[in-house]
Symmetry: C2
Subunit: 421 residues, 2 copies
């Protein structure tokens, strides 16, 4: 058994080993499965060694969860994972059958058959190790391996699942364990876009991103790739290629930072409409106050995202933070407690905000990006409620009504519609 | 690991260990699953140790097979078993969830988790061994074990399935491996009937049958219990109790032959409408001829059922046999070959025949049963085309049109409507 961490990160050059992942919308029905099989057949014929990771057929996981809803709440347990894992078991079986029908040597593998060993946590397990020997033997005998994504087995022999987007994680982890040349994520979009094309018609797929940019975009709700998968890919230096399942357009390569990447100041504008904002004004200047507030939020499993703090002239502290809208009212109740202790405290809340962010490696070396962002938003008359920054990202919290306008204006400002040279 | 054959066949008396099996119609939807859970809860509360084996929810196996049909024919393979095994995985997960919701300590087990080890044959594997340790530990800790029926794992780690009716087999084999006190088959009928109630309104559930009678009835198409399961139960001396899943009527106990059982001359009248009959007249008296005919049929996987042979005055041989209707035309073609070699040979075929049989342990000690059967059929003007007998069965091949009449007449003749004392 090889622990993930023991793999040699060097890439092979001779025979290409590809891990390809197909999402649920690419496997929506038997026609789609047949089309996917045909693409794999052509690729395998070209000489590539293929490991194909599949999600459940579109809608299947929801159907299974709806069945389970009758009997159980949110509590993860053995049976819930056992149940939803059938979704990927079905699609892996069917795709492998479809390949065999096309005379492609194929075999379907479940998580516990490989095995993909995970932590004990049901519902959102972490991959701990993968034994790649049986898979390797199979693909080096000329077979295509079809692997049920999203699932593994824990030390107690229980079937575990890896949480939402878990099939991406399966694909990247397998690519790491197999020392693959490339991990292809085949999906229903052409790649990672410069902005959400539904908001900004000028948006186009980005050719190349580095892991850190992709991480910022994944965390900011770009949804194409799950953040845990990008982190894992970065750790094992596995290049990811995001592309359309059925169209032949070039997609997005996510890889290590390369020379010249900083030439592009901003790579993409993202937009996240899942959070709400709470501001607390006139808190007394007492670090214990702030930390006890965040502790209380954490105890209720409310994850705080953007945090901005400043001090007024009177020495009082103003604190602004965002939380997922799903926990907004719970978070607001918790914030109100600060007021009970000190009546000068004011609470302002805004449930419908949008986080609009500019992400780009080039920010590190190009000054003035913030100025251009503020200038653009101000020209459009958009008030910025809060700002948070990282080395390669500037994130503005805005009223939801201005989200789309802000995305379009910033996309224009940074000239993203045009392919960089 | 305990091999099945190494178990001690003696029954325990103190704490009852029950293996209960629920078929697909008893698990047709979430309401049914909840009702089944409630019955199990009451039973477990009464102090019994419970292992519950489940089939797939009604219609699910057909749905999965229909999906697979697009990509594969009849050939059994790894992916087909992997696919259909999800049916029982889903129902086991859901039933265990439903039990937990009712505060019953419960855990779902898949075939490979126990493990139930099988032969390599996909699609119709044989159970080779069962390791009962984990299950035992669980039920003796006070938990209910819900086991996905119909499935196992072979030496190559592949998921295998046990063929039609395989969940019965899982239940009986587990009862054997766990040295259970009873194996209950909960189904949509009240037990094994004296005749098919759709044909004979007077039919009633039989209280008690011995394994050999049940085997004759299972093979003759009574459909309540699969013949392989009855054989296994006989081998391990596991009493089987066939009863309704939801009603409280007494069912049928299938057990070892007991004193007094021979008091009932005939226990049941069965009726099988799945075969066709072929007669070959004037074959020359040459054993090689007959045996080469049956060899040719066997090579085409045609299983011959009833075989009757006699010799005419002229020293020629007349041969009559029945085959499944599905292979009737293939069998007839094969039979025609006898004619090509010898033009005096005559072939007569009758695709729509019915096998009506009287089964009863009492036949061994009561003479004149055959006379009563022929007398009854003759009174009704029914021609008997062929007869075959075993020690506890008399089987008559009739024109399909007379099948129902024959069942009713024989049911009446042997007084089966009345419960024996």
């Amino acid at each position: 058994m090889f622990l993930l961490g023991l793999n040699n990160p060097s890439r092979k050059a001779v025979s290409k080993l590809i891990v390809q992942k197909f999402g649920g919308t690419s496997l929506a029905d038997l026609d789609c499965i047949e089309k996917v099989a045909e693409r794999i057949r052509l690729r395998a014929q070209g000489g590539d060694r293929m490991v194909v990771v599949v999600s459940a057929m579109a809608g299947e996981t929801d159907r299974l969860e709806a069945l389970a809803n009758r009997f159980c709440g949110e509590i993860p347990h053995r049976e819930m994972d056992m149940l939803v894992a059938t979704g990927e078991q079905v699609s892996a079986s069917l795709l492998s059958m479809a390949l065999k029908k096309k005379a492609v040597k194929s075999r379907a593998f479940l998580g516990h058959q490989i095995p993909i060993r995970t932590s004990e946590d049901l519902g959102e397990a972490r991959i701990e190790s993968i034994d790649p020997r049986e898979l390797k033997e199979w693909i080096f005998s000329g077979g295509v391996a079809v692997v049920a994504g999203y699932q593994g087995v824990n030390a107690r022999g229980e079937i575990t699942t890896l949480g939402r987007g878990g099939s991406d994680l399966t694909a990247v982890a397998l690519a790491g364990a197999l020392d693959a040349d490339l991990c292809e994520i085949c999906t229903d979009v052409r790649g990672v876009y410069t902005a959400d094309p539904r908001i900004c018609s000028e948006a186009r797929p980005i050719r190349k991103l580095c892991y850190d940019e992709m991480l910022e975009l994944a965390c900011l709700g770009a949804k194409v790739l799950q953040a845990r998968s990008v982190q894992l890919a970065k750790r094992y230096q596995i290049p990811i290629y995001v592309r359309s399942s059925f169209e032949q357009h070039p997609g997005t390569t996510v890889t290590t930072e390369e020379l010249g990447m900083e030439g592009t100041v901003v790579s993409a504008i993202s937009c996240d409409r899942t959070e709400g904002k709470i501001s607390i004004r006139n808190l007394s200047e007492d670090a214990e106050k702030t930390s006890s507030l965040f502790r209380a939020l954490a105890e209720q499993d409310i994850s705080v995202d953007v945090i901005v703090q400043d001090r007024s002239d009177s020495g009082k502290v103003n604190l602004t933070f965002t939380v997922p809208r799903l926990c907004f009212s719970k978070a607001l109740e918790t914030a109100q407690l600060c007021k009970e202790e000190d009546h000068s405290v004011e609470i302002k809340s805004h449930e419908k905000v949008t986080k609009v962010s500019a992400v780009g490696l080039g920010m590190r070396s190009h000054s003035g990006v913030a100025a251009r962002i503020f200038g653009t938003l101000s020209r459009e008359g958009i008030e910025v409620m809060a700002v948070s920054t990282s080395e390669i990202k500037i994130c503005c919290v805005l009223d939801e009504r201005y989200g789309e306008l802000a995305v379009r204006a910033l996309h224009e400002e940074f000239g993203l519609a045009k392919e960089p040279n």
